[in-house]
Structure formats: C-alpha cells, structure tokens
C-alpha cells in the first residue's frame, strides 16, 4: 500500500452498524484500519436505522459508507439504505458491506448498487485498497 499524494483530500468514510446486533468487533477494527490508512472515519455506533445512516452520510459529506452486518438481516437493511441514497440523489456515495453475507446474497446486493461485499477472512489491506481505488483510482 502506498500513501495517496498529499494534494488529495483524505477520503471520508462513515462506518455504521445497522440492525439490532451489538457485535462491533469487526466494525471497530475496520474503522481503525481505515483511519490508520489516512482516511477520515466517522463511526456511528450501534443500532442505526437506514434513515439515520443516510442522514449521517449526508451531514458528514462522506464518499463511502461501510456497513457491518453479522445477524443475517442484510437483505432487509442494505436495500433500504440503497433506496434512500437514490431518493436523496446520493448515488455517488459508495456503499461497502462487511459481515456474514452468503455468496448469492452478495451478488444480489451488488446488483442493487453495493460497491463491494467483504466476507469473513477478508484482509484489512484488501478493504483499504478497494476503497482507495474506488474513490481515487489508486492502489
């Protein structure tokens, strides 16, 4: 991983944990890793509804929303986030999802506009470089 050129503003990322689940180990690790990689990270904390997440993304003017979902509720939550982003003309915000997401669900989420789905075992480096590439065209 090489640092982005100094002139580029840091990538702003909202890390959110939607749904009722409280297991925040993954969300916190990702948030720290993105911050260590030079990004500006806003961590929403737990139990965020899709409405709260999209409104925070708008207010914080982020380029990326990272959602951590382990409970199996992704098929109810993620499409709602995507729909709200489209409604608010925020289609350029990139949504990445991490957690326990079966392959076929991951495909369906990507068809709905999710930029990437990271399953268990994905390296921090792969997540950081994906976001850099998606936002700045850099590795």
């Amino acid at each position: 991983m090489s640092a982005p050129p100094a002139i580029a503003p840091p990538i702003r990322v909202l890390v959110a944990k939607p749904g009722l689940d409280g297991h925040d180990r993954g969300a916190k690790i990702i948030a720290r890793a993105l911050r260590d990689a030079g990004m500006e990270v806003i961590y929403t904390g737990l139990r965020q509804t899709p409405e709260m997440i999209v409104s925070a993304a708008l207010q914080e003017d982020v380029e990326v929303i990272g959602l951590s979902i382990l409970s199996g509720a992704h098929n109810a939550i993620v499409p709602r986030v995507m729909e709200l982003l489209r409604e608010k003309d925020m289609g350029d915000v990139k949504v990445v999802v991490g957690g326990i997401i079966p392959d076929e669900d991951a495909e369906a989420l990507k068809k709905d506009g999710v930029a990437a789905v990271f399953q268990p075992g994905a390296s921090l480096e792969s997540i950081v470089s994906f976001i850099r590439k998606a936002c700045r065209g850099l590795h």
Partner: protein, 528 residues
C-alpha cells in the same frame, strides 16, 4: 521463518520460554492442593469426571419456537444431556416479533419468543423437572425467566425442582456484546431481583452465568477475559450483599461461562486461575463460610471467533482441541461449535458432528479418566501463576476506579478489548499469526450445506401475536403492567409482578416497554 526470528507467545501475547523446569516454579504455588481442595486450582471435585461427566449442552435455537422445539427433541434423542436456548435478536433486545425494529431479524440468530405462548411451545413435551435448561438472555432475562417458571408451573413442576441457568449477565453486555436495553444501575437492580428471588424460590437454579465468553469473542486477551469476568462477579456479589442477602445464601448459585480458544495451555491455565482467584476472594474478600460459595463452577464454549469461513471442515479440528482444553481445565458443561457457524446457524448434520466431538472426548480419548491430568506440568503451573497475577493486576485497577460500573462508564474495559482485538488483527494481517486456510495454506473452499431461515418465521410469529392480543384478557394485561410499573418505580422485587404479567400473556415487548418507561434506555457513546 527461522526459530531465532520468531517471537513465541501465547495467542494473547504472553511470552513463552523454550523449556520449563522446576526453576520456573520457585517461589510460586507450583504444587497446588489436590482437586476438590481449596482453592480448587486443580478442580472443584476430587473424583472430577468419574463422579459426574460434564453436561453436553449445545446452544440451540432458530426460527420459530415450533422448529426449535423439534431440534431440542432431536438433540435429546442423540444423547445430549441438557438444553441451552438461543433467542433471536428481537427477543434479546426486548422487542416483539412484530415490532418495526424486528424487521429482517426474526428467528435469524435464535428462536423468536414474544410471549408465554411461545415459551410453552418451545418446551412442549420436555419435562422441566428432569431436563436442565440454560437460557442465553440478558437485558430482559427476568422476563424470560418468569415465562420459564410459568411453564414449569403449568407442567406441575415444583420450582424447587427446576434446575438450569439464566445467563443474566448484563455487565458483559456493556463491556462486550452490547445487547443492553436499560442503563447499568436499573439493570443491576433487575439482576439482583432475580438473584434474591432465586435464593428464596429456586434453590437448584443458577440465576446468573457470569460470562467471559463474549468478552473474548469481542477480541480480548485470555487475561482480560478472566479479569473482567471475575470483577463482574464481584460487582454482582456487592449488589446482592447491599440488598441484604447473606453471602452463603446466594454465592453457591453464581455460575460462570468461559471461552475455550485456540491456545491450548493458556486456556487450561485460565480456568485454573479463575477457580483460585474466585475461591480466595469469596473466602477472604467476602468472608463466605460455605465451601459451596468458594467453588467456581463453569460452562465453556469453544471460540466462535476462531472459526473460519475458508475451508470450513477445518473448524471441526479447531473445535475438538478447544473442547479438550475446556475438559482438561475442569469444565462442568460444554458447548462445541459446529463447523458451519462462520456462515450461519448450524445445520442438523453439523451440530451432530459437534456433539459427537464431545462424546469422542468423553468416551474414547481417555482424558476424563483421572482428575486434572495436566497438574504438575512445569509449563502449565507457571502459566497458571502468571495468568492469576496478571488478572489480579486488572482487578485491582478496576477496584481503584470505583468498581466495574464506573470502569464501564469510563470506557475502560471496552477500550482495552478494542486495542487487543486490533493488535491481534494486525498480527494476522502481517502473517505473524498463522490462521490455517486464511493467511497460510489457502486452497479452494469446499462447499457446505447451510441452514437457511427465511421470512416465513417472522410472518408466523406476527400472526400468532395478533391472535394472542385478540384472545387474551386485555384488561388483566393492563392491570399487571401497571402493577409492574409501580414495582419498578419503587424498591420491591419485580419478579412476582413479572410473573403476573407473563401469566396474563403480556408480551415481552409490552413488558420491556413498561420498564423502559420507568428506567429509560441506554445508549453508549461510540468510541473506537
């Protein structure tokens, strides 16, 4: 990597010597008393598993109470000796299945239980006087326990005969798992209500299972798991004493729950140190007179967070080693994870292999033939002493902060765990820690059959609730909820009021809403 370059530590970062001998044990309690003798470092029973094998208790629950009840009958037929209920997230958070926030979550992580009717279905055909049942429920634990006791009542089983365990450990929720509803102090009052009620009415039931499992799953070290759990235990003891309960009337029913992680010897040392610290504290710190108060009894579960999505069949092997650590550490009951749990709740086939793993340990491996067969190992005794010392340092620090609630409010255990979990993840990232199939020895994954839970469980549960709300005596529901509110506002024990409310078929959500109205809801400040 050459041996000279590699750092040798336990998975929690404790340095390991190339060889241990008598010189490492000088000045230490290297020769602890026999199993069954204070402070029970080597186990709480002299004859250990010859006297009674550990209870094989698979944590289980999914979709509707109807489907979970069928799984329970299956597990009991397969030779499982106790039940352990997994509830879904809406139940854990005190919402009914038809609540807006329950959308997409009903039945996904456990069984959906919104009312006494669901609890009746969950235990249909299961005699609660004979089978011991553990329930993993925390913030609304008192409500679910009231439902359980009401089902026992319907079955004609005397509460004095009902045996099992309620997890009911709210402190570790604020520390690690984050499934809390009310703020810490009213939550502690509810826990104390159950401990008090249990001491009076259910002498064979453990009203609490003080849990390190979730602390470890959140990424803590073994020492943090041990220290935070035992310090939580002291907090519950302090509150019960404050209530006026004599120590020896409730302490024997306090039970514990630890993780069984990858690092074999570190885990065995952790269980041994736990027993020693607890026994000493109960006798010295709290002046308990009864031997039963001194003995730390624990359930163990293999580490869910160690299971890999890649090459899932390897998880059978990981789980077997972890389970052996729990047994050699003297566990009273054990859950072994299924190979598919990095993906989903386990399929029937996967859970059967997990149960068979315990049966192979118990009946083929020979490790249960003699008490504490590892006792006297230079390495293990040294590691036990180091673990004890490191845990005591944390415990003193939390004492100095004014106890666990103050420490939680300051974010202390939370940030210690977050730092440990990040450090561990970086070690995996750099390859310093090997995870077979993930950062070394990768290959294509073998596909496995998974249990799928669709939205039909949610629809079924919602329809049942609608029927119940029409059928029940709604005036009685209102009256019992009003009485509960008054009890919550005052200082009387809430258990009798909770029992009245569940018997009237007030739903879990209605009861928790009544309590939310009195106690308020808790939200933590997000910290990284």
């Amino acid at each position: 990597m050459k041996t000279t370059e590699r750092r040798f530590t336990t998975i929690s970062g404790v340095p390991i010597e190339p060889l241990y001998g008598p010189e490492q044990l000088q000045g230490l309690d290297g020769n602890p008393p026999a199993p069954g003798e204070f402070p029970y470092t080597r186990g709480i029973h002299r004859d250990m598993y010859r006297g009674k094998l550990w209870t094989m208790r698979q944590f289980s629950g999914f979709a509707t109470p109807e489907e979970t009840n069928r799984r329970y009958h299956y597990l009991l037929q397969q030779g499982q000796t106790g039940l352990s209920v997994a509830f879904d997230l809406p139940t854990l958070m005190g919402y009914d299945a038809d609540h807006a926030l329950s959308e997409g979550e009903v039945g996904k992580c456990g069984a959906s239980v919104s009312s006494l009717e669901d609890m009746e279905i969950l235990f249909r055909g299961i005699p609660l006087g004979d089978v011991t049942v553990s329930m993993t429920i925390n913030s609304p634990a008192a409500v679910l326990w009231a439902m359980y006791l009401a089902v026992a009542e319907q079955q004609g089983v005397d509460w004095a005969r009902v045996s099992g365990t309620l997890q009911n450990d709210i402190l570790k929720e604020y520390i690690a798992q984050k499934e809390y509803i009310f703020p810490p102090r009213p939550s502690m009052r509810l826990v104390t209500d159950t401990i008090e009620f249990g001491a009076r009415h259910t002498p064979r039931f453990n009203p609490i299972s003080i849990s390190g499992y979730h602390i470890r799953e959140a990424g803590s070290t073994a020492v943090q798991e041990l220290a935070f759990t035992l310090r939580d235990g002291f907090e519950y003891v302090d509150w019960a004493l404050e209530r006026g309960l004599p120590i020896d009337e409730f302490a024997p029913r306090l039970s514990f729950f630890f993780n069984a992680h990858n690092d074999f010897f570190e885990e065995v040392a952790k269980y041994r140190a736990a027993r020693k610290i607890w026994a000493l504290a109960m006798r010295e710190r709290y002046g308990a007179q009864s031997e039963r108060s001194w003995k730390l009894r624990f359930h163990a579960q293999t580490a869910g967070c160690s299971l890999t999505w890649q090459q899932p069949y390897n998880n059978v092997v990981r789980t077997a080693f972890q389970a052996m650590a729990a047994v050699l550490g003297g566990a009273q009951s054990l859950h072994t994870n299924s190979l598919d749990e990095a993906y989903a709740l386990p399929s029937e086939q996967a859970v059967t292999i997990a149960l068979r793993t315990q049966q192979i340990l118990a009946f083929e491996s020979g490790v249960a033939n003699t008490a504490d067969p590892l006792g006297g190992s230079y390495f293990l005794e040294k590691l036990t002493a180091e673990t004890e010392e490191a845990a005591n340092r944390y415990i003193r620090r939390i004492d100095e902060m004014g106890g666990m609630i103050a420490a939680i409010e300051a974010g202390f255990p939370q940030s210690e765990i977050a730092a440990a979990s990040y450090r561990y993840q970086r070690e995996v990232e750099t390859g310093e820690r090997t995870i077979v199939g993930v950062n070394r020895f990768q290959s294509d994954d073998q596909p496995i059959e998974l249990l799928e839970i669709d939205e039909s469980a949610a629809n079924h549960q919602s329809a049942k609730l609608a029927g119940l709300r029409k059928r029940r005596d709604n005036q009685r529901v209102t009256q019992t909820l009003d009485a509960l509110r008054r009890a919550a506002e005052g200082t009387e024990n809430t258990m009798p009021r909770l029992l009245d409310a569940v018997r009237a078929y007030a739903t879990l959500g209605e009861i928790c809403d009544a309590l939310r109205g009195v106690f308020g809801a808790y939200q933590e400040t997000p910290r990284l």
